[in-house]
Each structure stands twice: as structure tokens, then as C-alpha cells.
């Protein structure tokens, strides 16, 4: 919605009272703002009106006499008179409801929507009370699963067009549609094509009846069982506003809340349904020491003993911390202070070598989502497939291009979910001419509107230093940047200082500011990043490795390196599940999950929002901040003892966070933290060797459903992981004589994996695109994090 505030208003009369409406505003919206609710089913404020349901008929007189008109289709006009409570309106509403109920089965007792159903509620409020329909109602097979996540009950459908409009206009996945005519009209998928949209859960949320229900919530509770709290989704870094609903200490449902700055009420299916993992039976409930269950005091004691002994013997830089991008800001700050202020190491990284240099992210001028979506602006996409990694950002960018006339220019290594909306795409060969292409693209940019660069890793198998060069090119054009890093609260972790060379508040180590006073000391020298930490651990230089919600073995780009590192170092893992890295840890501390802690998170814009605790953690699991506070206590330093106090201390050391707590109370939609650290000098990327004829260059991408802990532990989402395939350009496929489905072996100098081939003309020639972190394949066996690019040989398996 691009409603630009203008002082001009249109004076109309609604039920006798004068109302100042905005020009172009629909009567139904103007009336609602004035406190007059007009009943509706099909109208949704975030979608274009269609006037399907006729429930919003009211008497509108725009100068030619009062007539019943659908208030969702009529924009206000000067001196318009609207009557919503007349006898005629009442009769129309009763008639519409009686018609709608003719074929509605009234199976409210077994329907998941019963109790929170707009049809039920509005029938009570506006309905006739009696039906004259005594004939047999229509019957369909039900429920039919239209995707792995959504079930369709066609008997209940009132044909309001909300789900189909959402799929077509908002998500751009027109996979469900009206079929048939007249009384046999039904919503359905196309034959043999499931409703496999990443946004299918939204249709369940906006369905005004129980026609679309979510498999994960089906029959689990009734609305009156549920208690809810507002919170923020932590699955990716977009930071969608949600309401978390639970019953009997179990999170059962997560719905989107309309936050005008961020998600507009939408959620992706991963964010909506991965709360299932919270109630998993295999959650960590007790600490483990050496693989056996231990008491907290013993586990913390073992961890502290290891840390203390190592510091004494080898100095603070023999301790390193990886992770923190899944924590709240408060927990990230506590861990940052523990590592940098108490232990004294700067070998801290919240990214696992699959992100961008922290000082680059924090140094570039930041854009908001609204900046990026400015009508008639220019969006340059240099980075991952936004649809796969930051799905709700995809919805916003798509809307900006399709509805608001923004121009999208895409640079990368192959087709992404946004490519079809791009005015211009430029696909570089990995390790090749991305910088040159960026220069060409930048030259032609329309500079009359704002330029926003959505900026992230185009391939995890390529040196990110290339991207610093690309950023410099667009920076010279006056662009602002929306960094597209995916992990839940990676921006909060960066703001809290969980990166080498950084301190809280986007400060560099040599400009420590108030942190020195509060902490007592800060690290003297800039530490190592994730790859260097793992390399040092593998070499025996880093003796103790703290993994805070990080799984470098499965989720990092270089599996072999992580395995060696974890083998040699003493590993202390804090996590909600026993991950692959956790099984290699010496001490495992169980942490509370997303809906089990209070705190704040920061999204990719720098917007701070609250997360709220809804359920208690399983077993003896503790919030991450509390674990850091306990460890610090045992190391002789007293930290603030609760999230509020931690946030207050973060505010004392980080300028942007100074008054965040009170600002959040005034503005629940979030508070933007601004400010940037000095931009680092643009590094020169290591030049990749020229591609040889016999190898293909690996492009490592992410897909929405992968083997990430929460997704893999959510029964609804785990089966949706697409599995790994080797996507090849048709030219390469024919040159190599492979067809779709052929199983090939991809071998790098590091290792080999077997994959089936998919021929895809969206992949540049000479490259092979593979999804990372899929449950069936350890693609990260192929990579060496120190290589500028990864070349693989492709052999056909016979």
C-alpha cells in the first residue's frame, strides 16, 4: 500500500456523522476508520477489491439518489452519503447471508474455524436467523489436501476469492483457481499440481470460513482454548510481526499481524509452521557432559573449567565463539560481553562464513523495506534468491514492481524467484565478470528515483570480497543498501558486536566508546572470522570453541574443516536440538526456543521489535542470555540479571539502542536503529582462476526448506525440502551428454557427492547450481572456505 499522506480530505456522511476520508479511499475503509464496521467477507485491506461476496452492500448516495452498492468497490466522493443501518441495508445483508448459507454445511462443531469464523460471527450479527432452505446441500469429497500444508473443504467455501486473489496477486503463484460455473463453482488446484506456494499458509489465515485449514493446526484446539501474545518471527531476518497462540503450554499456531513497515500481515510457510519444532520430542531438555545427562551446575562448571584453564595456559584468543545469529538482542549482547569483555577474545563470529563481512554490512548506508519499495524507485538485486531466503521481502519487492512501478534490476549467477519481474537481468559466470556487469548495470540506472541495493551472497561457493567491489560501484551512485543475510537475528547479533573487530552499537574495536567503561576491557586486536576460527581450531590454535546456536558442520560452507575443528577443540554447544555439531561437543547446554524467551530482535532494516515468551522451555532448558550470565558469574563478573536490564546495558554501550525499550512501548511496530560504522576499504577480491574446459563452476544456493534445525524438526515442513539436484544449463547438459534425472557425481578437490541432474536454462553456461544444506546430501563436502571459487568435475554414474 502506497498511501501517501495528503492534507486534502473528502467530506462524506456515514450514518449521519461527518467523516473526513482520504481521496480515493474506499467507502468500507473510510467507514471503518470512523468506527462504523461494514460486514465483509471478500474485502481484504491488503488486496484489491473484487466485490465478490456482496456482504458489504450499503446505501450510498453520491448525488444520484441512494442505492445499494458494495462499499468495498466504491471510492469516496465529495458529499457522499452512506447509510449502513437502514432497513434496505439490513434486508440486503440478511439476503446475502441466507444465500451464502444455502450451501454452507454448518458443521461448525468439527470446523477449525468455528469460534473465530467471520461467517459465523456475521451471521449472528447480521443474519436472518432462519433459513428457508430445506433441500439437500451439495456434497464434495473432503477434506482434500491441496498441498502438504493446506487442506481444502469445498463444501464450506463461500467463493469470496480471497485465497485465489492472494495466490495470484500477492504471492504470484496462481496455483489455485475457480473452476466450474454457477452452483458448481469451486476453488481447486490444477490437476496434478499442488498448491506448493511458499505462502500457502496465508490463505488459511485470510479464509473467512473453514474452507482452508492448516494440517499442522487441524483439530488441535478450538479458538477459545488459545492464549496469544504478540511477537516477532525469528526464522529469517525480515522480522515479520506475528501472534503466537498456545494452549496447554504448547505453541499451536502462529499468525501474521499487519505491520505496515514490514510484513503487511503476511508470513511465509516456513516462518508460520516451524513453531512445530518447539514441541518436538527430541528437544534438548538437560545438559550433556561427554554425551551423558548432567546437572546444570556440573555442566556449567565443566564449561567454565575448560575456558579458564585454556585462558590461563594459552591466552584469551585460544577461546572462540561461533554463532549468536539465532538469539535475542539481549542474549547476543550477553554472549558478546562474555566473549569480548570477560574472556577477552575477539575471535567471535555470528555468521558461519556464509554471510558478508560485518563491517561492510554495518558500514553501508542502510535502506528500509519501505525505501526499497518506493514507487518508481529502482531496486538492484545483488544477492541470494530472495524468494527462497527472505520470502516476505520477496512479497514486498514483488508488490513494488508489479503494483507501484518500481524497476528491478537483477545481478547474479542465475535465475531467482524475482527474475521474472526484473526489467533487466545480468547473470555472471561465478568467479567471472560480476564486477564488470555491475559497472554496466550501474551506468544505465535511472537516478531520478531512489536506488536500493538488496545485497547479499550470490553464491556461497564464491569469495564475498567480490561483493564489496560491487557495493562500492553502487555506493558511488548514491544507492542505499538492504543487506540480505538470512539468519533470524543476525543483524541484532552484529549490532551487539558478535563479529570480529566489532563492539556493540556498530562500533569498531579501535573506537570502543562506552563499552570500555562498562565492560572494564575490550579486546586489543581484531580477531578471526568464522573460517579463520575453524581453521585455527583445526590447527590446534583455538582450544575451546563455544557454539551458540550454530552448527558449522551441517550449516557451514566447509564441512571437512568444521569436522576437523570440532574434533580437535573442546566444544561447548548451546542449542535447542542436538545438532550434528552438538553430537561432537564436550558440553551441551539446552537453550530455550523462539517462543520461550522475552527480548528484542533487530531485522535487516535495523528495526528493533519485541519477541515475547508464550510457553515454558522443555525440561531444564534455559534462555541463552541466562546461560551467558551464569558463565560470566562463574568467571567472576556479574552481568545484568534479566532481559530488560541487559537491554538497558546494551543501550548504555550502543548509541542506537539507548531508548529502545521505551520507544518500543510507544511504537509496537518497531523502532529503527540507525547509524553506521566506518566503511572498510574495499578489498580486492582474489581473482578466480580462469575456468577450465573440463570443470563446472559451483553455485551454491539456499532453498526455503532445508535441513536447518527448526525446519527439519517441524513435521509439516521436513518433507517439503526439495532435495539436492545439480542444475545445469541445457548447453552444458548436451555437451556432457546428461539428461534430466541422470545421476552424476560432482567432485571437487575436496570431495564428491552424487546428485540427479535437472536441466535449467536459468543457470549460466559453465556453472552448476546446487542447493546447500539439504537433508539428503552434504554438498558442503565439496567446498574449501579458502577457495575464491569452487570448480567441480561432473561424471555420469553408471
Amino acid at each position: 500500500m502506497s498511501d501517501i499522506e495528503t492534507p486534502v480530505t473528502v467530506r462524506i456522511t456515514v450514518d449521519g456523522q461527518p467523516v473526513d476520508a482520504r481521496p480515493g479511499e474506499l467507502v468500507i475503509d473510510a467507514a471503518e476508520r470512523a468506527g462504523v464496521y461494514i460486514p465483509r467477507f471478500c474485502y481484504h485491506p491488503r488486496m484489491k477489491p473484487v466485490g465478490m461476496c456482496r456482504m458489504c452492500l450499503v446505501e450510498i448516495d453520491a448525488g444520484r439518489g441512494a442505492a445499494l452498492q458494495p462499499s468495498c468497490m466504491i471510492p469516496v466522493s465529495p458529499d457522499m452519503t452512506v447509510v449502513t443501518d437502514s432497513e434496505r441495508t439490513r434486508k440486503a445483508q440478511e439476503g446475502v447471508l441466507e444465500f451464502l448459507l444455502i450451501n454452507h454445511p454448518l458443521d461448525c462443531p468439527v470446523c477449525d474455524k468455528g469460534g473465530e469464523c467471520p461467517l459465523q460471527d456475521q451471521t449472528v450479527a447480521y443474519g436472518p436467523g432462519e433459513s428457508r432452505f430445506v433441500e439437500e446441500k451439495r456434497h464434495y469429497e473432503k477434506p482434500i489436501p491441496i498441498s502438504g500444508l493446506v487442506q481444502l473443504d469445498r463444501e464450506r467455501c463461500i467463493l469470496c476469492d480471497r485465497c485465489t486473489r492472494f495466490a495470484k496477486d500477492v504471492a504470484g503463484d496462481p496455483l489455485i483457481h475457480f473452476q466450474g460455473r454457477g452452483s458448481s463453482t469451486e476453488v481447486n488446484t490444477f490437476p496434478d499440481e499442488p498448491f506448493s506456494s511458499y505462502f500457502s499458509g496465508n490463505t488459511v489465515q485470510i479464509c473467512p470460513v473453514g474452507a482452508l485449514t492448516a494440517s499442522s493446526y487441524r483439530f488441535r484446539a478450538r479458538p477459545w482454548d488459545l492464549e496469544e501474545t504478540s511477537s516477532t518471527c525469528r526464522t529469517c531476518s525480515v522480522g515479520c510481526s506475528v501472534t503466537v497462540q498456545s494452549s496447554r503450554n504448547e505453541v499451536l499456531r502462529q499468525n501474521g499481524v499487519d505491520n505496515d513497515a514490514v510484513n503487511w500481515g503476511w508470513l511465509c510457510d516456513r516462518g508460520r509452521f516451524d513453531m512445530e519444532s518447539g514441541r518436538s520430542d527430541v528437544r534438548l531438555t538437560d545438559p550433556l557432559v561427554g554425551g551423558t545427562t548432567a546437572r546444570w551446575s556440573d555442566a556449567l562448571g565443566a564449561a567454565v573449567a575448560a575456558i579458564r584453564a585454556t585462558i590461563e595456559a594459552h591466552g584469551p584468543s585460544s577461546v572462540a565463539l561461533l554463532g549468536g545469529a539465532r538469539l535475542t538482542n539481549e542474549a547476543a549482547y550477553a554472549w558478546a560481553r562474555l566473549a569480548k569483555g570477560v574472556i577477552g577474545t575477539d575471535d567471535v563470529d555470528c555468521q558461519l562464513g556464509d554471510g558478508l563481512p560485518a563491517d561492510l554490512v554495518l558500514g553501508l548506508p542502510r535502506a528500509t523495506i519501505a525505501d526499497a519499495c518506493t514507487p518508481k524507485g529502482t531496486i538492484v538485486l545483488v544477492g541470494p534468491d530472495v524468494k527462497e531466503e527472505l520470502p516476505v521481502l520477496y512479497l514486498r519487492l514483488r508488490h513494488a514492481v508489479v503494483e507501484d512501478g518500481a524497476t528491478l534490476v537483477e545481478l547474479g549467477h542465475g535465475r531467482t524467484g524475482l527474475s521474472r519481474y526484473a526489467a533487466r537481468t545480468s547473470y555472471a559466470h561465478p568467479g567471472g565478470d560480476l564486477v564488470e556487469r555491475a559497472r554496466l548495470v550501474a551506468k544505465d540506472l535511472d537516478e531520478s528515483g531512489p536506488i536500493t541495493v538488496v545485497f547479499g551472497r550470490t553464491s556461497l561457493a564464491e569469495d564475498p570480497a567480490v561483493l564489496a567491489e560491487v557495493a562500492a560501484i553502487f555506493l558511488a551512485k548514491g544507492a542505499r543498501f538492504l543487506p540480505a543475510l538470512r539468519r533470524g537475528n543476525v543483524f541484532g547479533a552484529l549490532d551487539a558486536g558478535l563479529a570480529p573487530g566489532l563492539l556493540p552499537g556498530r562500533r569498531l574495536l579501535d573506537d570502543a566508546g562506552p563499552a570500555t567503561a562498562v565492560w572494564g576491557s575490550t579486546p586489543a586486536a581484531i580477531g578471526r572470522d568464522a573460517t579463520a576460527i575453524l581453521t585455527a581450531a583445526a590447527a590446534g590454535e583455538v582450544k575451546v570453541l563455544l557454539l551458540v546456536g550454530a552448527d558449522p558442520v551441517a550449516d557451514g560452507p566447509d564441512r571437512a574443516l568444521a569436522e576437523t575443528a570440532l574434533e580437535r577443540a573442546t566444544v561447548i554447544a548451546v542449542d535447542t536440538f542436538l545438532t550434528e555439531s552438538g553430537t561432537r561437543a564436550d558440553v551441551v547446554l539446552p537453550a530455550a526456543g523462539p517462543s520461550e524467551v522475552d527480548g528484542t530482535v533487530t531485522n535487516l532494516e535495523g528495526r528493533v521489535q519485541r519477541v515475547n515468551r508464550k510457553v515454558t522451555p522443555p525440561g531444564t532448558a534455559r534462555p541463552d542470555w541466562m546461560i551467558a550470565v551464569e558463565l560470566a558469574d562463574r568467571l567472576g563478573v556479574e552481568f545484568p540479571q534479566d532481559p530488560d536490564a541487559l537491554l538497558a546495558e546494551l543501550g548504555a554501550v550502543a548509541d542506537g539502542y539507548a531508548d529502545v525499550a521505551s520507544a518500543l512501548d510507544r511504537n509496537p511496530d518497531g523502532v529503527l536503529v540507525t547509524g553506521a560504522c566506518p566503511l572498510p576499504a574495499t578489498p580486492t577480491a582474489r581473482r578466480a582462476p580462469a575456468p577450465s574446459g573440463s570443470t563446472l563452476r559451483l553455485v551454491l544456493t539456499d532453498s526455503l526448506y532445508d535441513a536447518a534445525t527448526q525446519t527439519a524438526q517441524s513435521p509439516s515442513l521436513a518433507p517439503l525440502a526439495p532435495g539436492t539436484v545439480a542444475r545445469l544449463n541445457p548447453a552444458d547438459a548436451s555437451a556432457l551428454r546428461v539428461e534430466a534425472g541422470t545421476v552424476v557425481s560432482l567432485a571437487s578437490a575436496r570431495g564428491a557427492v552424487d546428485l540427479p541432474v535437472v536441466v535449467d536454462d536459468g543457470v549460466p553456461a559453465g556453472a552448476v547450481a546446487v542447493a546447500a544444506n539439504q537433508p539428503d546430501c552434504q554438498v558442503n563436502r565439496l567446498l574449501d572456505a579458502t577457495w575464491p571459487v569452487t570448480d567441480v568435475r561432473l561424471e555420469v554414474r553408471r
Binding site: P105, L106, D107, C108, P109, V110, G114, G115, K137, H139, K142, P143, R218, F219, R220, A221, R222, W224, D225
Partner: protein, 231 residues
């Protein structure tokens, strides 16, 4: 002076208790005077006793796990959770069945609002109120204990004192006189058949010409009043 006049009634009633038959209270058992302490008095037809969960004539459970009983319960003593019926081996007609059903009799006040709320006549009350427990676990009746047996009669638990007649008239038939409250349905039988009893005959005042009274038939097939509950 006025209040002494009130006591006059008290004293008069007290005195008459010794000389006449003007006793308005009844004893719990059939009476100490007659020596039949162990005999229970007959209870009214619509007495609110311990609940039962009924089944259809084909053995399917009537409960669909809709939680309306739990929602209406003023004592909040009912806990229900629904679940998907296995299409190959359904527990109840339709998509959903009551997977968990618990009533906490330490809290229940036998108000019968659950019975009023039930859309399928699944929960009704028997005449039994003589049950006592020695543990909290026993006081929380589970679905296994509440659901009627294969003969359609309530299960008799060790701590309950069932006598002849206590398990009569436990079904929805007892209350379902005219659920719609509409005169147009006055003479129709609007309740479903039950395991062990079939479709019960109309009550006094209702016409017996109703064609739906077919003992032994599938009860839920006739249940037009509750179209939504089962299919």
C-alpha cells in the same frame, strides 16, 4: 417483638414433625424408620448424575471432540482434544473424534450445560451420584471410563454404587423434546438412535406417527436436526 412471630412457624413445624406426617424433607435412603437404609429412592427422570458418553447403534462414538462442552462448562472441569478420524477405521462419523475426554468430578457441579451444548447428544448424565474416590486420579474420569460399553450401558467403576435404574434414561432422548424450539417440529422425534436402545419412542405429548422411529437402524442417518455433526 416482630421476629418472635417468625419463630412461631419454626416451632410449629418442629412440633408437628413428632406428631403428624407433615415432614417435608426426605431421607437419603428409603428410610431409617422402615429399616431399608440400603435402598435408594427412585430419582427423577431428568436427574443430573455422573456423565456418560454415548455411542450410535453401530457402535461409533457420538463425541466429535468439538469442545463445546468444555467451552460452556462454568466449572472448567472438562478437557477435550479432537483428532482426525482414520478414514479406514473411524471412531466417530465425520472427520473428527474426541481423542481426549476428561471430566474432573472434584470440580463438576452437574449443571448439565455440557449436555445442553453438545451438538450430537454425545454427553448426557446418568442417575448415579453415589461415587467417591480416594485419589485425584480417580476423580478425573477419562474417556475410557465415560464412554458406554458395548451394551450401550455406562461402565460401572469399582467405586461407584450402581443400582437398578441408575443407568436407565441416560441418553439424549430424555432431554430432547424440541431442540429447535420451533412449533413446526413439535411432533417430530429429533434424537439419534443409540447403541443398545435404538431410536427411542417419543415422549408423552409427542406424536408417535413419526416415521423416523425405526429401532435398530443407523441412528445418525435420520438425524436431520444435526446435519453438521456427522455425515
Amino acid at each position: 417483638m416482630g421476629y418472635l412471630e417468625g419463630f412461631a412457624i419454626t416451632w410449629r413445624k418442629f412440633a408437628r414433625g413428632f406428631v403428624g406426617d407433615d415432614i417435608v424433607t426426605t431421607e437419603y435412603s428409603a428410610g431409617t424408620r422402615s429399616g431399608r437404609h440400603d435402598e435408594k429412592r427412585p430419582k427423577p427422570e431428568r436427574f443430573h448424575g455422573r456423565h456418560v458418553l454415548n455411542r450410535y447403534e453401530d457402535g461409533m462414538e457420538k463425541c466429535i471432540g468439538c469442545e463445546l462442552c468444555a467451552g460452556v462448562c462454568p466449572a472448567r472441569c472438562i478437557y477435550v482434544r479432537g483428532r482426525d478420524n482414520d478414514p479406514a477405521d473411524p471412531t466417530s462419523p465425520g472427520e473428527r473424534y474426541g481423542y481426549v475426554y476428561e471430566i474432573n468430578y472434584l470440580r463438576c457441579i452437574h449443571c448439565d450445560l455440557c449436555v445442553e451444548a453438545c451438538p450430537t447428544e454425545a454427553i448426557t448424565e446418568s442417575k448415579l451420584f453415589e461415587f467417591s474416590f480416594t485419589s485425584r486420579e480417580d476423580a478425573i474420569y477419562t474417556k475410557d471410563e465415560l464412554v458406554v460399553g458395548d451394551d450401550g450401558r455406562p461402565k460401572r467403576l469399582p467405586w461407584e454404587d450402581w443400582r437398578v435404574g441408575d443407568d436407565e434414561f441416560t441418553s439424549g432422548w430424555v432431554r430432547a423434546t424440541a431442540p429447535q424450539g420451533s412449533a413446526a417440529y413439535e411432533n417430530r422425534v429429533a434424537w439419534s438412535g443409540e447403541l443398545g436402545y435404538g431410536v427411542r419412542a417419543p415422549e408423552a405429548g409427542q406424536a408417535s406417527e413419526s416415521a423416523t422411529v425405526v429401532p435398530g437402524s443407523h441412528g445418525h442417518g435420520h438425524d436431520h436436526a444435526h446435519d453438521g455433526g456427522h455425515h
